[in-house]
Symmetry: C2
Subunit: 358 residues, 2 copies
């Protein structure tokens, strides 16, 4: 049987990927152009034995080292606008956001998957910058991207790029860090200044005509968190105060643990520039998103040594004890002693002040 | 310390979720309205001990039953248009698509995560239908939704709803089913008729003015696949021919395994209505997407008994042996003996014929 070989690769094939440097609908076909995008762009940065098998699934052998562990899974969709902002981009955010959710179990993130939704017309150079950033952040966090998917929608049916990531990691089965575990008498620590991410992203939205030197704090937190876990701290709760900010996170934790949380306004670390920007724009920094900070709740007799450990870490230099946990009054709540010495209830974010912040 | 309780829930609070029955930006805030959406809608259908802990991560204890297993992970973004179509909706698709990718390892899917991107203005009734459908499909597939995330973008920055799902499952470590494992002498089976999904979705796109009785085949395949695995069949390859259709899938497999694949056009099961629709529209059914079919490659001496097993299953009644594997000519390729007795090379899909089919 002799058949002339008429397949495309035997001809000079001016596919759009080489020509106008934009994503076109065909890149989401699942066919030849999808393959080209994967071969020429994704594989350039994501390269490991699991991914290279080119199956629609990733396989990881469970062996002795996983015995006595819990599997930890977390997922996040990322729709931030703009996709590049001071201190980061949607790629760094997509890896860090999901890595950090795994870290909040006290566990170690190992694998990550990414599902891309691309808008027709997205510049391939922008896509490459984002993929490169994901690769670098994954290296920094010590995770392997093991599975992915790419879809393309028509121009005007998405906004440049959305990235959903899922993380998989492992945590020792004896660790039971959970939002349900805050106890009266515990101390509340924040690992650094609040509001940096939200204000940095806001400053990048041109129409606001607002400039600041603030950089987003977006970063993977596994290293700083493992530094306190391996030191043997008896951590009750870890949570990253992202959307909704510190105020919303503390409210969630108060509800989950059925406790009240008292915080002291004067002890909350806030950069001067963030404070000014918030005053100018009429925002409360307690509700502004963070992407590289963690709230730690632990027995108060451990707060000094954990604070010392955190402050030794590059990402924890401004760590501070900001409050304490008590039995719920009437109902779980968050109460703040203000700078001027009064008290106010700090509620969960209601409505939305900064859409598309992550 | 006595503070007046001024929190929102102590007042009559006309939140949009009760009023205009649409998704608004605030539902993606991460604050009170996000919580309301989760409490009133998501929790109504997704309810299990892992999810109910309300952490940003899910924990699963690894125990004796996981020993000697591989962890299997897969991810997919779903952007299908329209979101409701004959035989299914984006919710059923989002669960089935990812469950099926896990099944292609021969493993059993156990957990699923979902990241939702909602367009402002999406009807809450539509969202509820989709969530209900995800719940029902997850029950059918025996998987638990253990983690989720919901984001909202402005009207015109997405298209109703996009859902990215990630699946996690387990497969016996001695099973090595992979796209790389097709061997000369193997037989190629398809579990049923091709093109149903693509044509059903196409018929639902009103502007095409085209009607058919065809229903999408979208379904979780774990049961039918486990029926042949547990019967002891020595399966080399499993793959679901989704985007790009059977032709693209066979090309991928030929490349991965460095073999050639011969198929026989007359043996490929196609519904009469699908064939007519394809003729009318000028499509080749080999390139039309399927969402409830699987290509099985296995030693030819096992094809008869596997075919018999498949045909006993509701999802495999039209299963057929459609071809065989041989050493690559010059390069890996897919060659089809046509109805009229000639041969033609069947290439991978190039360009895109049916955007947003999954």
């Amino acid at each position: 049987m002799k058949i002339p070989d008429i397949r495309l690769e035997n001809f000079v094939c001016p596919l759009p990927i080489r020509n106008d440097r934009q994503i076109v609908i065909g890149h989401g076909s699942g066919g030849r152009m999808s393959k080209l995008l994967i071969d020429t762009l994704f594989n350039k940065y994501f390269n490991n034995p699991i991914l290279n098998r080119r199956n629609d699934f990733a396989e990881i052998l469970l062996n002795e080292e996983h015995k006595g562990h819990k599997l930890v899974i977390s997922t996040d969709a990322h729709i931030i606008k703009p996709i590049f902002f001071p201190g980061g981009d949607i790629g760094r955010l997509a890896i860090s956001g999901t890595v950090n959710d795994i870290c909040m179990s006290g566990g170690i993130p190992k694998y990550i998957t990414a599902a891309f939704i691309l808008e027709e017309g997205l510049l391939l150079d922008d896509l490459e910058s984002i993929i490169r950033s994901m690769h670098e952040t994954a290296e920094e966090a010590g995770v392997d991207l093991v599975a992915g998917d790419t879809k393309v929608v028509e121009k005007g049916k998405a906004d440049n790029i959305f990235i959903s990531t899922t993380g998989v990691g492992f945590v020792n089965k004896n660790l039971n860090i959970s939002g349900q575990s805050a106890k009266p008498g515990d101390s509340v620590i924040i690992s650094g200044t609040i509001g940096d991410h939200g204000i940095a992203v806001l400053s990048a939205r041109e129409q606001l005509g607002f400039k600041t030197t603030i950089q987003s704090d977006v970063a993977p937190l596994n290293d700083i968190i493992q530094s306190i876990i391996t030191a043997g701290a008896d951590i009750h709760v870890l949570r990253d105060p992202t959307r909704g900010g510190l105020a919303t996170t503390l409210n969630e934790l108060a509800l989950q643990s059925q406790v009240s949380i008292q915080i002291d306004e004067s002890s909350i670390p806030i950069k001067k520039e963030v404070r000014s920007a918030c005053e100018m724009l009429g925002f409360d920094p307690l509700y502004i998103a963070n992407e590289g900070k963690v709230v730690i709740i632990l027995p108060s007799n451990q707060s000094a040594f954990v604070l010392e450990l955190l402050r030794k870490h590059l990402l924890g230099r401004d760590a501070a004890v900001i409050g304490s946990v008590s039995p719920p009054e009437k109902s779980p709540s968050v109460i703040m002693r203000t700078m001027i010495g009064g008290f106010r209830i700090v509620d969960m974010l209601s409505g939305e002040i900064l859409p598309r912040i992550c």
